[in-house]
Symmetry: C2
Subunit: 451 residues, 2 copies
């Protein structure tokens, strides 16, 4: 068969080590979310076409995976222009794969608003699919980890979410993490204070592009949109401030005075005051915009100061998210964690627990049916004690079995041969040190339990 | 908006309690699989069209969800008959959603055979999708839990899998479970001994139908296919034996004598002998066929004797599974667990742990900013100790907050009011008993840790 390629571009198999590493991150997140009083939610992989389309802009719509109707999907098509793929897809596909977790969350909340007690605190860790061009760290199937509070405008929720970021990066041992924070009200206030020929969304989008396109890009944009040199310089200075958080706030209060700026500054002050005990470095960044239209208050972004691989997470406060499904269930705030990038950093800095690639605790070689029977009895006893153990199923050459145990990364290899049959002991080999010893099953259990 | 239906038929949202219950089952399975030396594998939700189609029979192919090509899926279609939906779908769809975990497993093993150490022991717990007619207990998106050994023909693997079934149902407390076992070789031997005008596959399929269509259906089938009355009666008796396993084996050895029957009986004997210590009731059932073509040796099915809701799991030994991808990587054996049905039984018999619907350990009401600040400090301390805790974000009416805590199923509600501000104590209410007491934070931690 040679080299038939069975794999889809941008989709991945995960072997045991990759599954364990991903679960290490996911389990730490889950534990933390529960500790903070959030509850899990899972929604189906598919949603009705009408639920997803039109929610992510034209560019987003193009990246949604559409699922064909079952059976004869052409049966009810008559006067359709089947030469126009956009029109056609509307008729032959009635559902699509989840593009993110936010829209399904909004749909769920509206559908179940009668049974939900608000504020609703949910976390959701599930796969999403995007027909995007695959590249390093960007996949067509990937896992999103979202945590949101909806139905309250209290800033205490922001504080909790920041504290979750702080705890998480502390627990997994990633150092030099910075949580950048801003407030959309401040950006709106700045925008209002400008004499500029553009809308707020375009303004935010071009701020967002600074990271990739450079500052000059943004100043050119201001210039094009007829912003005065004086105002441009004021913003330039604001975006490049290398000051403490309180000095930054002082600067903006003296240079951009209006109600929106004040209100955003007040919110920042509250949040900074209440998160003083957090172990994460929180830094005000007035140039943080996060282009997504729906943010209305706080915005966050987490980055690694050691490695520029883009954001490790982000989020913010939004209003009226659920309106698109016909009910306004109030203000919300949420953050997400970039599992794929966090994984890359943990791998690079060797921060996954050492034990993660260990498999079976005690691997028994198989030296014949009589020996195997005794070995299997020991295997059963060990399993009852919660010690993982297995017997090699075939009585083949010892060398092959030892090599298997080695490749599988067993902690110990145990052998029951003729001597051991007579003495009732187990010949145990530590696969890391190579040390060998003869032990009774009780001694073996004790040894492993004390490790 | 009234009653817009946003839900797809056969697809489900899982609220926090449902997620926890599902995870309770999944976590118990995972722990057990690891204890037995199996390692996790995850494959992508989508596979290339060519990987899936043609593997599940014509009926299966119809149930596969096909995903539209991204972008202009019509662009390269010229001479295609776009009136034939089957032909068309081949051109406008190049990938499809996973229909089961077996085919992706086979594909993975062939693709990675260079890096895998055989026998390869993997478990896989992932969603699959089928465009089937939804009904009670049958969904279009559901979770499969598979565990397989491939690359060994040793019967010790069968013993391990039976032992996993036994341990699992014992751990989750489901009683009156029967593991029915048979061997395809025995069925082949019986078939060979018959003078009958049909093929082995049709023979097995009609045996399978006994459960739903009744015994008469099967005897009519034998009759139609020109099986003699004498032989029919012999089989009838074999299928209805109410004997011990050893008497059943005795009966078959005396009445159906050929090499295949003998070989199947030998295998059964080995397996029964080595699984004597299992806590599950193992019962030979010569009428167990499990229609799936690829089984070649042992076959299993797990049922509840209390409730006839179909099988809770099943599996068997197969040969040459990976040949369809161009490489024969040897014999394998695997079983699966029916998560949805196990869930239904645990729910019905009230066997989920009582604590599963508890959420936050200590819920703090919010009586104003000063009180909230102190409360939040206590919340932080509790979280550091691993005790889940939260502060209600808004200072609204106490009654509303108490009702929220109650609906959320918090264990305790804590209150910091004016008195508590002065004394530094916490007013703690047990939400089950209604008992109230005043405690310092240290006393509170001690109380919860000792529970």
């Amino acid at each position: 068969m040679g080299t038939i390629n069975y794999s889809l571009s941008g989709m991945r198999d995960f072997n045991f080590l990759e599954v364990r590493k991903r679960n290490y991150i996911i389990n730490n997140l889950t534990k933390l979310f529960e500790l903070y009083g959030f509850s899990p939610l899972e929604t189906p992989s598919m949603e009705k076409r009408s639920v997803l389309f039109g929610k992510y802009g034209d560019e987003g719509d193009k990246l949604i995976y559409q699922v064909l109707k079952s059976g004869n999907f052409l049966s009810k098509i008559n006067d359709i222009n089947t030469q126009d793929y956009k029109e056609l897809s509307n008729f032959i596909s009635d559902k699509a794969l989840r593009y993110d977790l936010t829209i399904p969350f909004a749909r769920y909340v509206v559908q179940n608003s009668q049974d939900i007690t608000f504020p609703f605190k949910r976390y959701q860790i599930q796969k999403v699919w995007r027909a995007d061009r695959p590249q390093k760290g960007r996949y067509r199937e990937f896992t999103q980890c979202d945590v949101d509070v909806i139905g309250s405008s209290s800033l205490w929720s922001e504080c909790d979410l920041i504290s979750i970021y702080s705890d998480f990066f502390n627990i997994i041992g990633l150092k030099n993490i910075s949580l950048n924070i801003n407030n959309r009200k401040i950006l709106e206030g700045i925008f209002d204070s400008l004499d500029i020929k553009t809308d707020f969304t375009s303004f935010c989008i071009s701020i967002d592009k600074i990271d990739k396109a450079g500052k000059e890009y943004f100043y050119d944009f201001l210039d094009q949109k007829k912003c005065s040199k004086v105002q441009s310089k004021l913003i330039a200075k604001l975006f490049e401030l290398k000051l403490s958080n309180s000095d930054k706030l002082q600067y903006i209060k003296s240079n951009f005075i209006n109600e929106k700026v004040n209100s955003g500054v007040e919110e920042l002050l509250f949040i900074l005051d209440k998160t003083k005990s957090c172990k994460i470095d929180i830094s005000i960044d007035f140039s943080l915009a996060r282009g997504i239209d729906y943010y209305t208050g706080s915005i966050f972004e987490v980055i690694s100061k050691d490695k520029s691989i883009g954001s490790l997470g982000g989020g913010g406060r939004y209003d009226g998210l659920t309106k698109m499904f016909g009910k306004d269930l109030g203000s919300g705030v949420g953050i997400s964690f970039g599992l794929e990038r966090i994984y890359m950093l943990l791998d690079e800095f060797n921060l996954f627990p050492k034990s993660i690639n260990k498999s079976t605790d005690v691997f028994f070689v198989n030296l014949g049916e009589k020996e195997a029977c005794i070995s299997q009895k020991f295997v059963n006893i060990l399993r009852e004690k919660g010690i993982s153990s297995e017997l090699f199923p075939d009585c083949v050459k010892l060398k092959k079995q030892m090599s298997y145990s080695n490749k599988k990364n067993s902690k110990y290899t145990a052998m029951i041969g003729e001597d051991e049959l007579n003495t009732g002991k187990i010949n145990l080999r530590n696969m890391t040190t190579g040390d060998q010893e003869l032990l009774t099953i009780d001694e073996l259990i004790k040894k492993i339990k004390n490790e």
